[in-house]
């Protein structure tokens, strides 16, 4: 009898601890200034819910440039704009690319999140089709946007679902029971930090050989297709889009990108996105070499300048409180 009671107590306590953890995470886990590298589907769902309750005026979609690679979350252009009164939300993430932006757009609109404006970071580097990386969905986005994936998307994109159905089911069950399990990657990044600590290697232009695919861009490019679809989806929802060409370190990359092919691709993107109703700002050459950490990632000073460049447009779009 004593052992049965002990077992019942142990079980009750374990269940109680899980409940308390779930409640504590719901109540106290912060809304981070930016998504963590391995953000979870659970965290993003929570963010969508909070955005549905009080929709931010401007959403930022993009990749590691806007996310703030190698700088703190409070040093990014979006955080700076937020501190200046913009109700902005940075949904860019380290492995962001046009397919991810598109499915995030679908998820947000489906959940009823209608911002006043969307800012899109258009980085020519992520349109490089020779790298699978830029056609890969983030696991959390892939999990949440499963219902939006067409057979063509499944054929074109790399979708990191678990091969093993048992593991996937187990993951789903555990995630539904414990928020600690579901949001483990976000908790870990929050506790231990999410900024690269290793010193930046000495910059060498040759490292970036092949980063920019100089083949002429067209609508057959997977990235371009999803970029256009993202702009069109927001436009159909009545949300204005500001697309900016990612600032690029021309001094460093001179021998690779200061040529007619690269310029033609920039012009193509400006034309295509404008024709779909986006306001496009070309910041490709707008920054000095010392404002870059490498080919495109900005220093804290560079992020401050990016914020200053975007600020007038946010004013005109009425995105300032």
């Amino acid at each position: 009898m004593r052992r049965v009671v002990s077992l019942a107590i142990a079980l009750t306590v374990v269940i109680a601890v899980i409940i308390v953890e779930n409640v504590a995470i719901a109540a106290f886990f912060p809304h981070l200034p930016r998504l963590t590298t391995d953000f979870s589907a659970a965290y993003f769902t929570r963010e969508i819910k909070s955005m549905k309750q009080s929709t931010p005026q401007t959403l930022f979609l993009g990749d590691s440039v806007l996310w703030g690679y190698r700088i703190r979350g409070d040093q990014t252009a979006v955080s700076i704009l937020t501190s200046q009164g913009c109700t902005c939300r940075n949904l860019a993430f380290k492995s962001g690319n046009p397919p991810n932006d598109y499915f995030l757009t679908r998820l947000l609109l489906d959940a009823g999140v209608h911002p006043r404006a969307v800012v899109l970071d258009v980085n020519q580097a992520v349109l490089n089709q020779s790298s699978d990386y830029y056609q890969t969905l983030h696991p959390a986005v892939a999990t949440l946007a499963k219902r939006f994936l067409t057979p063509q998307d499944r054929a074109t994109l790399t979708i990191p679902f678990r091969d093993n159905a048992f593991h996937e089911r187990l993951d789903t069950v555990l995630s539904s029971i414990s928020q600690v399990y579901a949001m483990r990657s976000d908790i870990r990044a929050t506790l231990l930090g999410d900024t690269a600590a290793a010193p930046l290697p000495k910059l060498n232009p040759d490292v970036f050989a092949g980063t920019y695919d100089l083949l002429p861009l067209d609508n057959g490019n997977v990235g371009v297709r999803f970029l256009e679809a993202t702009v069109e989806t927001w436009r159909r929802a009545g949300v204005p889009v500001l697309a900016f060409m990612t600032p690029t370190n021309h001094e460093l990359l001179h021998k690779y990108i200061d040529n007619a092919h690269y310029r033609a691709n920039v012009s193509f993107l400006v034309k295509e996105l404008s024709s779909r109703g986006a306001r496009v700002i070309d910041l490709d050459r707008g920054f000095a070499a010392n404002e870059f950490l490498d080919n495109a990632h900005l220093t804290a000073a560079g992020q401050r300048r990016l914020a200053a460049k975007l600020e007038p447009w946010l004013q005109s779009a009425g995105s300032r409180t």
């Binding site: 052992r3 374990v14 601890v17 506790l191």
Partner: protein, 475 residues
Amino acid sequence: MDVPSYYFLGFAALVALAINLSSAPQWRRCLLLATNIAFIVTFTHSAAELMPFAGLLLLGYAAVKAMERWPHRALFIVFLITLIFAFCWLKRYSFIPAALWLAHPYFLVGMSYVFFRILHLVIDAYQDALPDRVGLLSYVNYTLNFTALVSGPIQLYRDYLRTESQEPAVLSASAMGEALIRIIAGLFKITIVSPLLYLAEQRCLQNLPLLAVPFERAFDAALMLAIFPVYIYFNFSGYMDAVIGVARFLRLELPENFNRPFLSKGFIEFWSRWHMTLSHWIKTYVYSPLLLALMRRFPVRSLEQWFGVFAYFVAFFLIGVWHGRTPSFIVLGILFGLGVSINKLYQIAMIGGLGRGPYTRLCENQAYGALSRGLTFGWFAVASLFFWATLPQVSHFAKVLGALELMTTLLMVVVGAAALLSALEAIETFFGRMQTRLVIWGYVRTAWYSALAALSVSAAIALNAPAPHIIYRAF
């Protein structure tokens, strides 16, 4: 395989199931041998990596057998020096020229602990103090016992042999419950308490140069100084709890290594409660022989207590030096040695001045006891600084703080520790009383450890990392 990871626990669970199939000594010995070897193999990539360690083991076994057969002083000294040199050479102590070190990587995990076990066998064999002739199987199992390989404890051969094959410990339901509780407590200390303390200590370290207000700087430095010993305690004693619990499922009994060390009222007492098996080893094989040798060489009664002070210094200096190979560890050794010898000198002076009775009564005084605890903790905290910081770092801290802030920092550590440790003792006394009075205490305990188990698993999930790092693994 990291200890105590969940893989380690799974591995140990399988061994426990197998070993409990039979109580036959040969079955237990053979299975333990296979397990110990399998455990070591998980750390290595090739057999060549194991050769230097195997060489040390073989040398040790040859020394034990030689001492059993020919217990001559000269031969004993030759073996002792050879073993010590082999150990220092394999551990790459800086006094050995780097050109003599082995160039290829090799297995070193737990070598210090194995070395202590080998020396214990050789010395006891020479003194004919071993219970029996040491068989090869028992020798290998004793020195490489997988539950105690990585970071100890340093068990005596006689005690090991008793539960290995002579009288395996009884594994009743309540013994299993107690063992489980030890494992849970260990995991909780390692996965939750110790990483949090480490983070706190690192934060203090990062903040120190950024703080402008002198009081804030002193407070930050005091926290940094005070957190580290507590962090090591939770990390190391957590490991001990886990391996003691695991060994119990194999019907092995490992000795305790910690007994609420921060409640000690003096540095000598501290070392009888902190890393107990190491300090016991050092007292048995360094302190006592040295003291006896001095007393025999200079048989003057009035000098005996001074010899005691000196022997204490040497023994605990060696403990400090054993912790590492850089000059900081020499300072650590000096501080450990000074701690015990000053404590001994103080006792001599107080007993001489006040008399034994009044001094004992003074020690029983609560305020005096609290202050003694604060001073003991403070001394250990300052010594521990040399455990984790290099000499230039320590000098940088001193420069950042300046003399006045440094004094304030030390005062804060001593007074803070005195107050907090007294409160801790009061809480402990309260729970001790509850334990005897409360009928449902057993259920409260079950609930408490169930909560700790759930939290430890959650922490492991959230951190999603390999097993936590055990500081003492490096030794």
